[in-house]
Structure formats: structure tokens, C-alpha cells
């Protein structure tokens, strides 16, 4: 009999985030009233963050397989084969709620958690990326949040020793009360040396490794599964504290331990700490688990079983070890100065038994904790679509030159140098393409292979049309990888949405997933890992739907790739892909005209593939080395970025007839690339393009120190650069008053 104090009241159940029917379900499952520890355990296992109860049904429809996929969703990270016995483990995960409450620690622990997911599988982290969404620059908290989050990401990654090679930063008032911090980690592992979370063998020791357990982060996962209200500040104690030094030691010790052959299964203690990791290892291996909490290394005295089971103290791992290797394993951990404690064993009972102070404090069916978690088919309504906005309906409020200066210095399109200079992006000595390109390029050890990495999503498109927005997010990731010459292989998705109990939010979720699934299928770009973050709302106001896509591609020869900057004078510039002048939901419409309206640009996946394959083929053949994806801000912004990156100007030919100049220059039509090459090379490329039925249009020539748009006063590169580089540093210095949407 399990002693039971305090008594479980409906209020206590509600405080644990369990709905009455969910609690009834749990009672039926165990056939008696739970202990407080058991209530804590089930609340951790059945919250949205851990159980995916609102999203599971729809996630099943995503494509997750391809011949190169070694591990799809369901493990700590997805893994893909990149040839020669090398594999890449990667995943993206959100740390939105904690980062809003305590930006530095929230961001650090987000980075720490995702790095751990990758090295738990035996992979040494070789790159990190992040996608950040902040509120309006005018919101009083925004500056503080940007400063804290960026310092936190840098503080952790720099010390841990992984290069932060790319990402995205955006601003919108819809994130005022709920910022997004999505962190991605990428690791390298030999494909025959991958470690999984599945326990095997009865009676094997379960070992606790890493930092000690404290009272921090208790109920962090439950917090991440609820909306914010005015009292969210009170949740600060649920935010964990990161220690990159401990994580670095844990990495080295884990990899050394894996090399020793002692490890049967390994799981990091992330959300819901000891509870989730122990249950997952047992349930996956069809084994029971017995834990003795008296052996758990604690930072504080007098911790209860409840606290130990729910603590989210960072930098901790759980492993099942081969019994005969126990001493060898312990010696490795002692060498690195980390805690090592046998805290339990595997059993054949299929029960999750937790003892503390000689008493059983929990005794639950282990598989049902995961398998019987609630699953909801939440009602949803399709969103009302914005009507298509024609170029004729958008009057140009200023000259195109002035509009370009406006856009290139806007919060979303301005340079993010202020951010990425705080991240060590050069450590390990393999960063071939640093931040500022279409996609990062990281060499694999001494080469010749490389991988290319990007994160993408256009939330305003997703808001206006979730299906199209979902498609576009995947297509843009695919395009960015293609634009450097990479072969896109797989994605991780980090799905950030509002409250799924609202049918219109659920509609956004379902729509985006449909679009993502369609694009992944059409582009052979499966989803191998991901994370769902719901309830991103404050006082009933939801974020923009933001399904961040982290894409990974491979370069067989990393030396053969394309970059953004114009290389020399006299190159011919051309545009691959058709331009209809699509201004609906464009940056131009928002930041120059002050409107957010219209349908987003449609994504034709067949055209996307055709144009992309053509461009990639040219790069890989060594014939094309200057390429830029055309996206936010359209053609004019792409050209300006190419000129600034290469410090070489350009003069454009007369614009096409029959299309308003501002629509041609700033429309955000998809499946387009700007390319530049020597005249004779470009001539051959254009002939081949005509043959392959890929539309390629000559735009102008490179040269000089101005960007000359037809019919406009030439823009000096120095002025463009000043605009591009100054917004963020000025804003962060406390002098900015520019308004984003």
C-alpha cells in the first residue's frame, strides 16, 4: 500500500494542468487514487509538451521516410545518412515560454537541451542555428528580450564550443507577449555508432550522470503547455538555469563512455527530467523500471520524491549500462568531475516503480503512461482566406529607390550582424559559409564533404493562408540549400502556434501541416525530427502561426558551392523563375505601404523543383558561383544584398513592359534565384535554360559602386550599407524608434 498525503483534491488536479476527464482516465488506468508523486508524474507525461496530445493525430500525416533517413521522429534527434559511413543527427526545439520570462536563462537552456538531444545519440555537435521572433521594436520589453536571448544563446554555445552558424531574427507585434526561441543543433556520428533510448535486458543498472538535481524547473513542461496571463512573471522559478561548462564536460564524458562500449541505452533528462527519461527508456524497451531516489545526487537537502521526479535541472543524463562495465564507466565520469550514481535497474514487470526513503511512492504501468496519454482530435475551422491583391491595387507611395532604402534598413531585412557577432561562428574551423549567406556551409572534418543548413518560415504568409505558408516554409528551406549548391535531404520542424483548443488556431495548425506535408513529399525532403509548441498566447492573443523549418542538405565537394556576393565587374545578372509581381503579404506592402493584406504568393512545387534542380546542377558543375535566393523584399532587396556582400555594384536593364516597376522589383513570387556569371557563361546558361524550359531573364550587369535601378537615381553602396547595418545596433543602443508591423 502506498502512503498518501496530501490528499488529491480537484484543485490539486487542476493545478497540475490535468482536465477532469484526463484525471478520470488516469484513475481508471491505475484503479486507485494516485499519490502526489504519481499525480506529478502523470501531469508531466500527459501535458501537451510531452504527450503531443493535440498534435499527434496530424503529425502522423507528415512524410518521414527516404532511403537516406536512418532515424525519423520519435528519438532524441533525427538522423540522416550523408555517405561514407557518416551521418548527421539534428533537431530543433523551442524554448519560448521560459525565454519570455527570463530571456538569458531561457535561451541558454534551450540551446543546452537541443545540444544534449544530439549528443545523446552519440553525435558530436558541429553546428547550431536558431530562429528568433520578437515583438514590435516599439514594445517596451523587446530590447531587453533581444539583448537577453542573444546573450544567452551566445553564452551557452560559445562556452560549449559549437559554432552558431545561422538562423533568423524577426519582429512583429504579435510576438509582443510571447517571443519565440527555436534552437537547432546538428551533430556528426558514424552511422554504425548511433545510440538510442531503448533499454534492453532485465536487471541492468540505470545510471544517473551529470549535474546534481535541484529544485529548478519543476513543472517547466507544464508551464510550456499553458497560455500566459498577467501572473506569468510568477513562473520565473520554473525556468531552469544553464551551465554550459557542465554540458561540455557531459558531452566529452558521454562520448568517451560510448566509445568504451558500456552504454546500452541513453536518454537525456530534458522536459520533466527523471520522469520522462526513465519512462521512455523502459517503455521503448518493453521493460519495467525501478528507481531508488535515495541514490539521486541532490544539490539541496530534503528534496521530496515529487520534486526529484519533476526537477528540470540541466545537464543530466540517464543511461542503462552493461553491468560488467560499471566501474570503467564510473572512472570516466569521475575523471570529468561529474556525478555518477546507480539509481535503479530495469525489471520485467512493465511497472514504473519509484522508491524514496524506503517507501514506494509511485507504482504505475510504464507503457500506459505514454501509450494511454490522451489523444485529441480537436475541432478546427479552415481560416478565411485573404483575397488576392493585384499590383494595380497597391499604389507606390514613394520612389523605388527610397522604398529599397526603407526595406534594406527595416527591422526584418536589416543586417543581423549585431546578433551573430555575439555567437562564435568560427570555432572548430569548418565554417565555410558564415552567417549572411543563403544557407550556412559546414565542412565535415577534413572534407571533401560538407553540409548546408538553414532555418526558414514566413509567419505572415502562414497567417494569411496556412496551407500556402506551410508549403512556402519548406520550399524556402529547400531553395536556400539549393542556392549554395547543396542537395536538400531532410528537415526538422518546430511548430509554434497558439491555443489549440480554439478552432481557428487548430485550423492554422492543421493547414500549415498540410502544406508542409505536401511540400516535403513533392521535394523529397522528409521530416526526421521536430517539436510542437502550442499555447503561445498571452491574454488571449495568439502569435502568428510559425512553423519553423530547419533544413539540412549535403555537398559532396564542399569547395564547390555558390555564395551571395557579386564577385567582379562585368558579370551578367539574371533572374531564374517567373515574376508576376506578387505584392500580397510582401515586405513592401507592410513596411513601405503600411498594410498587411492579400493572399501570400502561391508556391508551385513542380516549378520550385524544376528551377532549383537547374540552378543546383549549374553550381555543382562548377559553372555558377554567384547565386541568391529571392525571398523577403523581392528582387530589389536580393540585388542590394548581393551588391553589399560582394562590394560590387550593378546596373539594371530596363524593366519589363506590362508590369508596374514596384511590383517587379518588390514582388515576392516564389521559386526564384538571382544569379551572376561571366557574359559567355551566362549566354550558355540561358540557352540551356530555354531548352530545359526554365525561365531565365537577363537583369543587368555588375560593376561600379552604385546600384542603379532603371529610372531612379543610382543608390550608392555606401548609403545602402549604412542603412542595412545601422538599424539593429542603433536600436539596441536605445536610440531606435522605427516601427515594425
Amino acid at each position: 500500500m502506498i502512503a498518501n498525503a496530501p490528499k488529491i483534491t480537484p484543485e490539486l488536479v487542476a493545478e497540475h494542468g490535468l482536465k477532469p476527464d484526463e484525471y478520470e482516465r488516469f484513475l481508471a488506468l491505475i484503479g486507485r487514487e494516485p499519490t502526489i508523486t504519481e499525480l506529478g508524474i502523470v501531469s508531466a507525461m500527459w501535458n501537451e509538451h510531452c504527450s503531443y496530445k493535440s498534435s499527434r493525430l496530424h503529425l502522423r500525416n507528415l512524410p518521414t521516410k527516404a532511403p537516406w533517413v536512418i532515424q525519423g521522429p520519435g528519438e532524441n534527434a533525427g538522423i540522416i545518412d550523408i555517405g561514407d559511413g557518416d551521418a548527421i543527427a539534428f533537431k530543433m526545439e523551442s524554448h519560448n515560454h521560459p525565454s519570455f520570462i527570463e530571456p538569458y536563462q531561457g535561451a541558454t537552456t534551450g540551446v543546452g537541451g537541443i545540444l544534449r538531444d544530439v549528443f545523446t545519440m552519440g553525435a558530436r555537435p558541429i553546428a547550431a542555428l536558431n530562429a528568433l521572433r520578437f515583438g514590435s521594436p516599439d514594445h517596451p520589453r523587446t530590447r531587453h528580450l533581444v539583448s537577453g536571448v542573444v546573450a544567452g544563446i551566445g553564452g551557452y554555445g560559445n562556452s560549449f564550443g559549437v559554432p552558431t552558424v545561422g538562423g533568423a531574427v524577426g519582429f512583429h507585434t504579435r510576438y509582443d507577449g510571447n517571443i519565440l526561441v527555436n534552437a537547432m543543433a546538428v551533430g556528426l556520428v558514424r552511422s554504425d555508432r548511433i545510440f538510442y533510448a531503448t533499454a534492453t535486458g532485465v536487471g541492468n543498472p540505470i545510471v544517473y550522470l551529470g549535474s546534481k538535481t535541484g529544485r529548478d524547473g519543476i513543472h517547466g513542461a507544464t508551464m510550456a503547455s499553458a497560455e500566459f496571463d498577467q501572473n506569468s512573471e510568477e513562473k520565473r522559478p520554473t525556468v531552469q538555469v544553464g551551465d554550459p561548462f557542465a554540458e561540455k564536460l557531459l558531452l566529452e564524458a558521454c562520448l568517451e563512455l560510448m566509445d568504451s562500449g558500456a552504454v546500452i541505452a541513453i536518454q537525456d533528462m530534458g522536459a520533466a527530467g527523471l520522469t520522462c527519461s526513465a519512462v521512455e527508456m523502459g517503455a521503448k524497451g518493453d521493460l519495467g523500471v525501478e528507481l531508488d531516489l535515495d541514490a539521486v545526487p541532490c544539490r539541496e537537502e530534503g528534496m521530496s520524491a515529487y520534486e526529484m521526479m519533476l526537477s528540470e535541472s540541466q545537464e543530466r543524463m540517464l543511461m542503462v549500462l552493461k553491468p560488467e562495465k560499471r566501474d570503467e564507466a564510473e572512472a570516466i565520469f569521475r575523471k570529468w568531475g561529474l556525478d555518477f550514481a546507480v539509481v535503479g535497474r530495469t525489471t520485467d514487470t512493465l511497472r514504473f516503480v519509484v522508491k524514496h526513503g524506503g517507501e514506494v511512492v509511485a507504482d504505475l504501468p510504464i507503457k500506459e503512461l505514454g501509450d494511454e496519454a490522451p489523444l485529441y482530435d480537436r475541432p478546427y475551422i479552415s481560416n478565411t482566406f485573404e483575397p488576392v491583391l493585384t499590383a494595380a491595387e497597391v499604389a507606390a507611395p514613394m520612389s523605388n529607390g527610397a522604398a529599397l532604402l526603407e526595406l534594406i534598413g527595416s527591422p526584418d531585412l536589416g543586417s543581423k550582424r549585431w546578433v551573430w557577432e555575439q555567437y562564435d561562428h568560427l570555432i572548430l574551423g569548418n565554417t565555410v559559409q558564415t552567417p549572411g549567406g543563403d544557407a550556412a556551409i559546414v565542412r565535415i572534418e577534413d572534407g571533401p564533404k560538407g553540409i548546408t543548413l538553414t532555418t526558414d518560415v514566413t509567419p505572415r504568409y502562414c497567417e494569411a493562408d496556412p496551407v500556402e505558408g506551410g508549403r512556402q516554409a519548406v520550399a524556402e528551406a529547400w531553395r536556400n540549400i539549393t542556392a549554395v549548391g547543396g542537395r536538400p535531404l531532410a528537415i526538422t520542424d518546430n511548430l509554434n502556434f497558439g491555443n489549440p483548443e480554439k478552432p481557428e488556431i487548430m485550423g492554422q495548425f492543421v493547414g500549415c501541416l498540410r502544406g508542409i506535408g505536401e511540400a516535403c513529399r513533392a521535394l523529397d525532403f522528409p521530416v526526421v525530427s521536430g517539436n510542437v509548441s502550442l499555447y503561445n498566447e498571452t491574454q488571449g492573443r495568439s502569435i502568428l502561426p510559425t512553423p519553423t523549418i530547419g533544413g539540412v542538405g549535403v555537398l559532396d565537394d564542399v569547395a564547390v558551392h555558390a555564395t551571395v556576393g557579386f564577385r567582379r565587374s562585368g558579370d551578367v545578372i539574371a533572374l531564374v523563375g517567373d515574376t508576376a509581381g506578387w505584392l500580397g503579404q510582401s515586405c513592401y506592402l507592410r513596411d513601405v505601404c503600411g498594410r498587411e493584406a492579400g493572399a501570400p504568393p502561391p508556391v508551385d512545387l513542380a516549378v520550385e523543383r524544376r528551377n532549383g534542380d537547374f540552378v543546383r546542377g549549374l553550381i555543382q558543375a562548377g559553372r555558377l558561383a554567384t547565386v541568391h535566393d529571392c525571398s523577403d523584399g523581392g528582387l530589389a532587396v536580393a540585388l542590394a544584398e548581393m551588391a553589399l556582400a560582394g562590394a560590387v555594384g550593378a546596373t539594371l536593364d530596363p524593366l519589363p513592359e506590362g508590369l508596374a516597376a514596384h511590383a517587379f522589383l518588390f514582388g515576392e513570387d516564389q521559386a526564384r534565384y538571382v544569379i551572376a556569371a561571366a557574359p559567355e557563361t551566362m549566354e550558355a546558361i540561358m540557352a540551356e535554360a530555354a531548352h530545359a524550359q526554365v525561365p531565365v531573364r537577363r537583369l543587368g550587369v555588375t560593376g561600379g559602386d552604385v546600384l542603379a535601378l532603371p529610372g531612379e537615381a543610382p543608390l550608392a553602396l555606401a548609403e545602402l550599407r549604412e542603412r542595412h547595418e545601422s538599424w539593429l545596433p542603433t536600436y539596441m543602443a536605445g536610440q531606435g524608434h522605427l516601427t515594425a508591423a
Binding site: F245, W336, D424, L428, G429, V432
Partner: protein, 232 residues
């Protein structure tokens, strides 16, 4: 040349410098755990790599300076042996009293990772023989606490004895406020010990050894060391 790289808990550029030593100096270093008491016999060069030894807790480099291996490193330096401390290694050398002064938080109070030009102040040392006098090299920095400071007398002594190894400068070799990436006194990026056999510097030449990854301006330092050893 026989080299050794010391690994402290929290070191994180040890692989980078080992690669540079192998690639540019033809020396595969011994990787030495901080708990060791002695250097491998015949060691010519000891490298203290970049990173965040002991998490930068207490003060950058302060705990590492008291690691068991550091007695052997001090003895090696006293015998005239070569010691190279990069970034956190420079901080450790200062905390170990092998070099004077201190590295403070960057003037802008933020971590900075960027490409950085350096002026090579002299080329008659074991570390810089392969560079032309006054050469401007393009390497990178990655640190939060790299602002070199010392009392006026020390600075005067360093300057008058020619012990400033590198200064932060612009592409033309000019010392400008914008090119001094962390606010160091006299734009000092690296200094020598009195005997010239110990060098500490904040920038990372070990990350610039390859055209594909940013350039090769850092190779010269490692090639110089190999050459100095051959000449010795």
C-alpha cells in the same frame, strides 16, 4: 617539433589548434590532461588552447592557472621552452604570472566573434619569423573578455622592450578605434614574456589555416614555430 596541447575542463579549441599544428607545423601534438604532473619528455612547445576553462568561474583562467600541469608549464617556460596561450590560454598565462597584465571584459560588454586584422609588430621571434615585418594579417577573434589592461609602468615596459606581439588594426595597418575590437590598451592583441619564449594572444590564428575556411593568414605563426625549432 614536439608539441603538447593542455586540455582543461572547458577547453574547446584544443582540436582547432591541434589541427593547425599538424597541418601548418607538421607536428601532431600530445593532448595533455590538466591533471598530469609532467610534460612528455622533449616537448618543445606547450599550447594552452582557447575555451572556457572551469566555465570561466571565479575569473577567466584563474582556476586553470592553479591546475597541476601548470607547475610543469612554468618550469618549461623558465627553461626557455616555448609556450603559446591563445584566448583563454592567454588569460591563463596572465593568471599564472607567466605574462603581465589582465584581460578585462570587452569595452562594448558583449562577446565578439568577427574577422580581425592584426599588425605583426616584430618578426624576429620564434612565433613570427615567417611574417614580413609590419605585416597585416587577417585572422579572427572570439571572446567576451579580451580587453588587455595593465598598469602604466607595465605598459611602458612592454612597449619599450618590444614585447607587444600583435596589435588590432584595420586592413591598412592603422590603429583606429573601430579596429580595436575590445578596447585594449594600445590596441594590444598579444604580448611576449621577457625572454620572448612565451606568447599570449586573444585572436585565433589556428582558425585561419585554410583558404576554404576564411584564409591562411594564421598559418604563418605555426610555420614560424616549426622553422624556429629546425633552426635551433
Amino acid at each position: 617539433m614536439k608539441s603538447a596541447v593542455v586540455i582543461f575542463p572547458g577547453s574547446n579549441r584544443e582540436r582547432d589548434v591541434a589541427r593547425a599544428l599538424k597541418d601548418a607545423a607538421g607536428s601532431t601534438p600530445a593532448m595533455l590532461w590538466h591533471g598530469e604532473q609532467a610534460l612528455p619528455s622533449g616537448t618543445d612547445l606547450v599550447v594552452l588552447p582557447g575555451g572556457f576553462s572551469y566555465g570561466d568561474y571565479l575569473r577567466c583562467g584563474a582556476i586553470a592557472a592553479r591546475a597541476p600541469i601548470m607547475d610543469a608549464v612554468r618550469a618549461h617556460a623558465a627553461r626557455g621552452g616555448l609556450v603559446l596561450g591563445i584566448c583563454n590560454g592567454f588569460q591563463i598565462l596572465c593568471e599564472s604570472q607567466l605574462l603581465p597584465g589582465v584581460l578585462m571584459r570587452n569595452a562594448q560588454l558583449r562577446f565578439v566573434c568577427r574577422r580581425q586584422h592584426l599588425r605583426v609588430e616584430r618578426n624576429d621571434t620564434a612565433f613570427t619569423g615567417r611574417y614580413l615585418p609590419g605585416a597585416v594579417i587577417d585572422v579572427c577573434v572570439a571572446h567576451g573578455e579580451g580587453s588587455y589592461a595593465a598598469d602604466t609602468d607595465t605598459i611602458h615596459r612592454l612597449e619599450s622592450e618590444g614585447r607587444v606581439a600583435f596589435r588590432y588594426c584595420d586592413a591598412a595597418g592603422e590603429l583606429t578605434p573601430a579596429s580595436n575590437c575590445n578596447g585594449s590598451v594600445n590596441a594590444i592583441a598579444g604580448i611576449y614574456s621577457q625572454g620572448g619564449n612565451v606568447l599570449g594572444l586573444m585572436p585565433h590564428p589556428e582558425n585561419l589555416i585554410d583558404d576554404l575556411v576564411g584564409g591562411t593568414d594564421g598559418r604563418g605563426l605555426f610555420e614560424s614555430l616549426a622553422e624556429a625549432r629546425r633552426a635551433a
